[in-house]
């Protein structure tokens, strides 16, 4: 990671493919997530098509039969969480931003970093391959509850289950290696003067995300291994007939599954906070309060998992303690959201694209947070569990995080990544239509869910009681198709601007954090001969003792 890093010529292969440069690896993760989002989005279209127009062949695909429907919902979930959300929100910003924002030249372990990307890539290949193997891909929902997922006896899936588990194993392995790298980098490679209290929020939240992943994934790795054994070697860890216990899987899965939501939420929050400070020209309100709340949220996230299992046959007495922890975890998040509001208050807001994406994130995530109160109540869950209300709720948490939060980050840091600016008008159109069609897709599903329509059924026309929701479902489907089509605007903007966008200066937003001191795009090794020397915190905006309304974290570059 020393200076011999830069200046030497690289072949195409070592520059673009087997790169150990954190920035290139970040971009690889971004590209991978975009490719996988195309798969995931296409599946979303098939799901919505089948729900709105049951038994009518879907254009560009054909009939979504019940077995295909089950496989598609399973892979839609798996792809969107592990191969879109994780690379887009955790791996891409962590790789690209952590070294730049703390003033390092690269990651602590660049080769490990490269391995982390190629593991995810292999996982993605396994997952897509599983479509074409005999028996088809897994079809038991992304939660993969056994016994359905544990033996081909119940679902007819053979190799598909193995490939699915291998894909997950690759994703877990990759995120663990990545997380280790981010942590070690942030602890050991900070530029001189970059004390812990001067680390920007983006970096803190990316680290929080990595730590949360670390501590939650272990039990699920064990669980996934047991499930693999059940499938391949006929063991019976989760098969009651052989003395196993399916509910054990539910515990292991949700012990990971709930914190995983925060693994995806934290990066969006962190990037959002930095974007907020830049465009309100104000310090983040309550830096330490926010960090303290985040630590509390991480700790609590490990003791809320059973609220996913209120209906599972878990001892009903346990509903009360898990309801209480679920309530408690809303407190730190409420504090963070209020601190964000306080950061906007008394600001001098520059209404630029990244900021508007960030507001889109806040406005929509709020709905996800509030509707979580319904589902955190065990009593309300007796009715709402397993309905479209749940689908609407978690899409209102994950979609804002991954897409509104993620796009806020992409629009904000794009000039740094490619040295060019994205087209503003296309960006604005992308945002407005995404906001409109996202709400158009999922808001009606709250109503459909309250009406009692259950999720994961391929053919609602079989249920006379759901016929009343046919128009709502068609509305949601048209919105969903429009939402997916809208993303083409972004792809077009991306392709156009990478090569032909207007040149971006080093620091287009008058922002304080270190990455804006590097060239756009930063060279291999990031900094010239000298590292930045940090003298102030990241949020010295509009400090009355300064002449300008911003002050870079380092003055020596």
């Amino acid at each position: 990671m020393s200076q011999d890093h830069h200046e030497h010529k690289q072949s195409f292969l070592s520059h673009y493919i087997f790169s150990t440069d954190h920035k290139m690896i970040g971009k690889q993760f971004l590209l991978l997530s975009i490719v996988m989002a195309c798969f995931g989005g296409f599946m979303a279209y098939l799901i919505r098509w089948e729900v709105a127009y049951p038994n009518v062949p879907a254009p560009f695909f054909g009939l979504v039969s019940p077995d295909k429907f089950n496989a598609i919902i399973t892979l839609h979930g798996t792809i969107m969480i592990f191969f879109v959300g994780m690379p887009f929100l955790a791996a891409f910003p962590s790789n690209f931003l952590i070294p730049l924002m703390i003033g390092a030249r690269d990651m602590a372990f660049p080769k490990l970093n490269m391995a982390s990307f190629w593991l995810t890539f292999a996982g993605a290949v396994f997952l897509i391959t599983s479509f074409f193997v005999p028996g088809g891909p897994v079809a038991g929902g992304w939660v993969g509850y056994p016994p359905l997922s544990a033996s081909s006896e119940f679902a007819g899936v053979k190799l598909g289950a193995v490939l699915w588990l291998l894909a997950l194993a690759m994703a877990f392995f990759s995120s663990s290696l990545g997380g280790l790298n981010y942590l070690v980098t942030a602890v050991t490679l900070r530029a001189p003067g970059m004390t812990y209290s001067r680390i920007p929020m983006t970096v803190w939240f990316l680290l929080g995300s990595a730590v949360t992943f670390f501590f939650s994934v272990g039990p699920l790795i064990a669980g996934a291994f047991m499930l693999l054994m059940d499938n391949v070697f006929g063991t019976g860890f989760f098969l009651p007939k052989k003395g196993g216990e399916p509910m054990l899987w539910e515990h292991l899965f949700w012990f990971f599954g709930h914190p995983e939501v925060y693994v995806l939420f934290f990066p969006a929050l962190g990037m959002g906070l930095d974007i907020l400070a830049t465009f309100t020209r104000k310090p983040i309100f309550g830096y330490k309060l926010i960090l303290g709340s985040t630590v509390a949220a991480i700790c609590l996230s490990f003791i809320v998992w059973a609220h996913h299992m209120f209906m599972s046959g878990l001892n009903p007495i346990l509903a009360t303690p898990f309801s209480i922890t679920t309530i408690l975890i809303s407190v730190p998040f409420a504090i963070i959201i209020f601190c964000m509001f306080a950061s906007i208050r008394h600001g001098a807001i520059r209404m630029e694209l990244p900021f508007l994406w960030m507001i889109g994130f806040l406005a929509t995530f709020l709905v996800g947070g509030l509707t979580g109160i319904f589902l955190g109540s065990a009593t309300a869950d007796i009715y709402l569990h397993g309905t479209y209300f749940v689908v609407a709720h978690f899409h209102y948490t994950l979609f804002p995080s991954v897409f509104f939060g993620g796009f806020a980050g992409v629009y904000y840091w794009f000039p740094k990544m490619y040295g060019r600016k994205l087209n503003e008008k296309l960006g604005l159109l992308h945002l407005a239509l995404t906001f409109l069609f996202f709400n158009g897709t999922f808001w009606p599903l709250f109503r459909v869910g309250i009406g009692g329509m259950i999720r994961r059924i391929a053919d609602p026309s079989f249920y006379p009681q759901y016929h009343q929701f046919a128009n709502w479902n068609i509305f949601a489907t048209i919105s969903a198709i429009s939402l997916i089509a809208t993303q083409m605007i972004f792809l077009w903007n991306l392709v156009l601007s990478i090569n032909h966008g207007p040149k971006a200066e080093k620091n287009p937003y008058d922002s304080n954090t270190l990455e804006w001191l590097a060239d756009s795009p930063p060279p291999h090794g990031n900094w010239g001969p000298t590292l930045p020397v940090v003298t102030v915190g990241p949020y010295e905006y509009s400090n009355p003792s300064e002449a300008k309304d911003w002050k870079s974290q380092a003055q020596n570059i």
Partner: protein, 228 residues
Amino acid sequence: MLDALPQAISSFAQNIDDVLKLIYYITGFFFILMEGYLVYLLVRYRRKDGVAAKYEPGDKWVHVQWIVIFCVIITGIDFFIDFKGAKTWDRVKIEMPATDLTVKVQAKQFDWTFFYPGKDGQIGTDDDISSYRELHVPVGKKIKIIMTSLDVIHDFFLPEVRLKQDVMPQREILGWFDTTQAGTFHLVCDEICGFGHTRMAGVLQVDDEKTFEDWLASKDKEEHGGAQ
């Protein structure tokens, strides 16, 4: 939004709906308040020439206390919701009242079978009366259900009764419900259970006691030839 709820036909359905309503109005209030405040902030604090942002790091207790106080209030409201709901939860899921009839619910890929006690009043004996996909119960009576699955996880969901319970293989989970009106209602499987899951529906038939007894007798005759 809540007008989409299906009719409520059990003695606890109204309690569950009340919890839904309570949460709906509370979250609805905060939704309007917070989205409204966000819009206000954006309009009020947009950039104006000559007006600088205020330098507020919020690093002192006096500055952040109102946030903490607001959160304490919100936590109080949350606990209120849970406290209100807990009674209903206990009634539906924990306390087993004295019941009038026991039915065994057996799920398998991809249908439901219900077993009623025969003449000996016991379930699990040769004279059990079985019903395929149709759960008949007498109106107003408390029904104890013993739920089990023969293969994978299913979920027994009676939307109009507001009752839901996962059905686990090789395990017997107890539950109960009652009904307040006669009619034909719905039963669905609310846990993905394989390729036939989408059609694993059934019927909840609530009849007056006479009709129910007649139905049970005819089923008994059908199954056991009325020889007993």
